[in-house]
């Protein structure tokens, strides 16, 4: 699965320029699903990026684990979900020194959360590299109940927490790593526009 090309029309969406090797500097790598292919491409460009890398992989139904493990990262671990990887990721950030590069590859929801976590840990934004691979489903926060619904592929959709029907806004919160969802039928209860598939 190649790098996702998003429409440039959504100005608040982060740009995911792709991964560029920074040489054998200390690195934290977080890959999710098809994001593994971005790490494999990165290592193919410059194998030395793996020398001091701590690579965490969330397979999410993708089976690139053995190929990633063979890249020779200083440390390689798999986790079944971002939530389960979070403690390891936080510890890696807490132990990291200035000069560390963070490589993130996978879905927008994973990248958004991981970037927010890294910035909160003090990593300079310039040290973060991102590449979007895989699903274009959105991670949505309901602005009413504040609950987050993962993997939203349609507009409108039903909030998995409070049950309101939400309009998918093109408003991305870097703090939350999520787009904002707003009640679509607040003024005309029950009158909901036709459901459409979200486009990149």
């Amino acid at each position: 699965m190649p790098r996702t090309e998003f429409s440039p029309s959504i100005t608040s969406r982060p740009v995911y320029p792709g991964l560029t090797p920074q040489g054998a500097t200390p690195a934290i790598m977080l890959a999710e699903g098809p994001g593994a292919e971005a790490i494999l491409d990165l290592a193919a460009l410059d194998a030395s990026v793996m020398d001091l890398a701590h690579l965490i992989y969330i397979p999410a139904g993708h089976d690139a684990g053995p190929r990633l493990a063979a890249l020779g990262a200083k440390m390689y671990r798999e986790a079944p979900s971002y939530a389960s990887a979070l403690e390891r990721y936080r510890k890696a950030l807490a132990d990291a020194r200035m000069g560390t590069t963070l490589y993130l590859a996978g879905s927008e929801g994973m990248i958004g959360q991981a970037v927010a976590e890294a910035l909160a840990a003090g990593l300079p934004p310039e040290a973060i590299q991102t590449e979007h691979r895989g699903t274009i489903a959105r991670r949505m926060q309901c602005v009413h109940c504040k609950g987050v619904t993962e993997n939203v592929t349609t507009d409108p959709f039903v909030c998995s927490h409070c049950g309101l029907t939400l309009f998918v806004r093109d408003h991305f919160s870097r703090r939350l790593g999520a787009f904002q969802g707003v009640c679509v039928d607040a003024e005309t209860p029950g009158i909901v526009p036709a459901v459409q598939e979200i486009k990149p």
Binding site: Q22, T25, P26, L93, A96, R97, M98, G99, T100, T101, A121, G122, L123, P124, E126, A127
Partner: protein, 315 residues
Amino acid sequence: MTSRMLRVSAIEALSPLVSRFRFEDPEGALLPLFSGGAHVVVEMPDAGVLRRNAYSLISDPMDGSGYEIAVRREDGGRGGSKFLHTQVAEGDLMRISAPVNLFSLDLRAKKHVMIAGGIGITPFLAQLKQLARLQMPFELHYAARSRAEAAGLALLPASPQVHVHISEEGNRMDLGAILGSQPLGTHVYTCGPEGLIEAVAETGARFGWPRTALHSEVFMAPPPGAPFEVTLATSGKVVTVGAHQSLLEALEAAQVEVQWMCRGGACGRCETGVKSCHGTIEHHDHWLSDDEHARQTKIMPCVSRFKGETLVLDL
């Protein structure tokens, strides 16, 4: 520039070459507070020449009872520091500008690392007081050639975060050790000679530091050079700049109004357009980009000079 007349309330030698000057309002009024890294511009009427030099404030930023600066006497310099050391006495009134900060702490940082070379310790003396109040993690590295020259020693708190490196005693500063193992969110501030600032930038690049986390302030006096002439486009007036005078000072002496703030090529306030240039502008500023320097359509009169046939300024 907003400025006010203040009384020199104390002069104290800190080392054979460095003295501390304290300024207070003659009526005892409180002065505006500032932030660590701020400087003031001191006006010195010196035998027909009005000198204006910028000095970092070293006193507590939250203490409005006075402003303090530490000045190193440069006998080979343009004369400002020598004037302060030889012509100024306690009780004198001097015109002092309001504080301006071009070297403030980045308060988003999780830790602050300050690196001082010689008299470059001055802005950090105020920042240390600010950081103590903010209770933020920091370390300070102060490099000097000899203990006798290290005027900052008398003003630095005894603290495990304060590291003194005296090269004469073989205790040289190891930038690799300082920059190689800082936690995420650290910002580095360097003040001192250009060589030290370049060394920190190089070492930072080697360890993969983003440039945005490296801050610096070089103390820069207008460099001397061969005298030259400039023509002013609106009046047709020709102004001659002396060997030890800056273009800004020559314009001021000719009663030409130019906005200024730092007088050291850093703030950008005195940026002046160039109408035509037959020759080479000797750019010494840190404000214009390399491209702008090459185009020769702008000049920073506070530090830059000219060599060639004619230079016409948009003034």
